[in-house]
């Protein structure tokens, strides 16, 4: 840690949500009561499709949106009725929300100015933060004269200059192009390591979530679907919703019926051995499907995408869509039918009605589970 880092390093605060809920009226409940604890210094990514309430949740923590019920505790203080400025949070907005009539330096120093920090102190802090973010040469420019990435950095600088205990990010990377988004992701991760503030990052991009998060909180219609580390979420999704949301291309979900000996598709093809009976949803990731001669399952190829390093094959399996990611360097015959096998250890079983995961559905040896390959 450099001197600059320790100068800006904040006392991270724990975020505790107790029964926090948001409802506009009795019928439109955006977020049903939620209990979540975000540990001090943790980088949490709130992930979910648009309209799942993730931004609302972030704004409630920030104080920009009122809670309809419950308590928000930041660093041991109950803050749900406090103004944003008394909560000790800082926020980075999706469109940056920089003040267009102020220079970069004025933008970053504005919160200090409002708080009554003296001019020399402000200049000192701006210089420190600007150096940290590589903005030292742009301090006198207006936001309109900066590139997207530079604006993003100014927005981050404005947030961290007050040394907040909590840093909130509202989809901050979605306005950047792909290359810049990748670079900023790395920068953000590095910044978090150096500053150490408890960070909450809202996004609908699962790659951002997987790469940035200590833990991912997956929201579906305001409810917490799963809250765990990226690894656990990837390898043990708690529901069909999570399974479909994480991974690119997403996990294949097949409707199957158990007859006591095997799980079968509608046409009677057995895809996995199981003693269970009833209707289930079977999940397998595209990269886990083993394609090659001799496989017991037959699918029809619909479309192939060659990405150079590997191929994505879209196949039709008894009327259901199945995506297959071939391993690196593998050559698959360009015939119309494909023989497949589903390795049992890679299968995920979900309840046919609720979509919730069934733990240890396939008795797998402990050793195999340990050696599960990490896909990133």
């Amino acid at each position: 840690m450099t001197a600059i880092d320790s100068a800006i390093r904040a006392a991270a605060a724990q975020i505790e949500l107790i029964g926090v809920t948001k409802a506009y009226d009795a019928k439109t409940v955006v977020i049903p009561p939620m209990d979540v604890v975000l540990r001090p210094g943790e980088f949490t990514v709130i992930l979910g499709p648009s309209g799942c309430g993730k931004s609302t949740l972030l704004q409630m923590i920030a104080g920009l949106e009122r809670v309809s019920g419950g308590k928000i505790i930041l660093g041991g203080r109950e803050v749900q009725d406090l103004e944003p400025k008394h909560r000790g949070c800082a926020m980075v907005f999706q469109n940056y929300a920089l003040y267009p009539h102020m220079t970069v330096a004025e933008n970053m120093a504005y919160s200090l100015k409002v708080a009554g920090v003296s001019k020399p102190d402000r200049a000192l802090r701006v210089a420190t933060v600007a150096k940290m973010l590589g903005l030292a040469d742009y301090l006198e420019r207006k936001p309109g004269q900066l590139s997207g990435g530079q604006r993003q950095r100014v927005a981050i600088g404005r947030a961290i200059i007050r040394e907040p205990g909590v840093l909130l990010f509202d989809e901050p990377l979605s306005n950047l192009d792909a290359q810049l988004r990748h670079d900023m992701r790395i920068e953000l991760a590095d910044l978090h390591r150096r500053i150490g503030a408890t960070s909450v990052f809202v996004t609908h991009d699962q790659v951002e979530a997987m790469t940035l998060a200590d833990r991912i909180l997956i929201l579906n219609k305001g409810r917490v679907e799963q809250f765990d580390t990226p690894k656990v979420i990837y390898h043990h999704p708690a529901s069909v919703f999570v399974a479909k949301f994480i991974g690119a291309p997403p996990m294949n979900i097949l409707d199957v019926t158990g007859d006591g000996t095997a799980l079968r598709l509608a046409d009677g093809q057995a895809v996995a051995r199981s003693t269970r009976t009833g209707r289930f949803q079977l999940g397998i990731r595209p990269e886990d499907v083993a394609a090659g001669p001799g496989g017991p399952i037959t699918a029809t190829i619909r479309y192939r995408e060659d990405l150079g390093s590997h191929e994505i094959i879209e196949a039709d399996l008894c009327g259901q869509q199945l995506r297959i990611a071939t391993p690196f360097g593998a050559e698959i015959d360009a015939s119309s039918t494909l023989s497949l096998s589903f390795p049992t250890v890679r299968l995920h079983l979900f309840d046919g009605e609720t979509g919730m995961a069934i733990a240890d559905a396939f008795e797998e040896p402990q050793a195999v589970r340990q050696s599960v390959k990490v896909h990133l």
Partner: protein
């Protein structure tokens, strides 16, 4: 003339399309303007006939007339007081309407209606509203006889004029300023709130700087308009009185030209007024307009 647009590859079509408008502007704007300047160098006969070139005699005569300077001073006082109020009041209303305080939605509609009322009609209405015997001030007069007498007291008459002008200026300025405020992204306020700025601070540091283009537009229009369009109000409310206390330059031109038949004097004053208005607008652009950041 070459056009890049393939839609208008015909070189005569654009000219043909603009001609009617150009004709109107030339006929009803540039020709009279030119005529006024031209006449200001001649001594015109009141009922037509031969006119005599007198050089700068008209200007000498007008500029040495104390009434001209008094009317000019009144014009400037009216311009400064009426137009600054006519921007400040709508600004307050627009900020209130933008903050979505109670009843701001109906207010937004009601505030636009006066735009549809002609200046002369406003004058008639205000002459009635501020009538010392039956108007709004009548009860005050009952308590303190003679405190409100626009018919006798020049200051009262002038105030009536200013109020009528400010009232008639509210709709347009309100709409322009409100539009400016509405175009400020919502996250800008959220960012300011996160930075710790309260509502007043946000008005000063975020809203006002960001609606500078709209403020500037309304100010320029108000300054020029308060000089020229006060005529209808003066003519209907005070008739320039009492004792000439509400005779602004624009009204003096009318009285001199059409009642006094001093066509040359009126033309000369018109020319002077026109140059003054142009110079004023040019100054505003030079000193304020250039500093405004139009970038969002």
């Amino acid at each position: 003339m070459r056009s890049d647009s393939s839609l208008f590859s015909n070189r005569w079509l654009p000219i043909l399309l603009v001609t009617p408008l150009m004709l109107l502007i030339v006929l009803f704007f540039y020709v009279p303007v030119f005529q006024a300047f031209y006449w200001s160098f001649f001594l015109e006969q009141p009922f037509g006939g031969s006119s005599e070139f007198v050089g700068l005699d008209n200007f000498r005569r007008v500029l040495s007339d104390p009434e001209f300077w008094k009317a000019g001073a009144r014009t400037i006082v009216f311009m400064l007081s009426a137009s600054s109020l006519a921007v400040a009041l709508p600004l307050i209303l627009a900020i209130a309407a933008d903050r979505k305080i109670r009843l701001s939605l109906p207010a937004r509609n009601v505030l636009v209606w006066p735009k549809g009322v002609a200046g002369a009609s406003i004058g008639v209405v205000f002459a009635f509203i501020f009538n010392p015997f039956v108007g709004l001030m009548a009860p005050l007069n009952q308590m303190f006889p003679g405190i409100w007498a626009p018919g006798i007291d020049g200051t009262d008459a002038f105030l009536t004029l200013v109020m009528a002008h400010v009232w008639s200026g509210i709709p347009f300025n309100f709409v322009i300023l409100l539009a400016g405020l509405r175009s400020i992204p919502h996250t800008m306020y959220q960012a300011a709130a996160m930075d710790g700025a309260g509502p007043w601070r946000r008005i000063l540091d975020v809203q006002l700087p960001l609606i500078m283009p709209q403020l500037f537009l309304t100010l320029v229009l108000e300054f020029t308009e308060s000089i020229t369009s006060a005529f209808a109000l003066i003519d209907t409310i005070t008739g320039g009185g009492p004792g000439g206390s509400t005779t602004l330059l624009v009204y003096k031109i009318y009285v001199d030209g059409f009642r006094g038949y001093d066509l040359s004097g009126a033309s000369t004053q018109t020319a002077i007024l026109m140059v003054f208005v142009l110079a004023l607008a040019a100054c505003q652009f030079a000193f304020i307009g250039r500093r405004i950041n139009y970038e969002r």
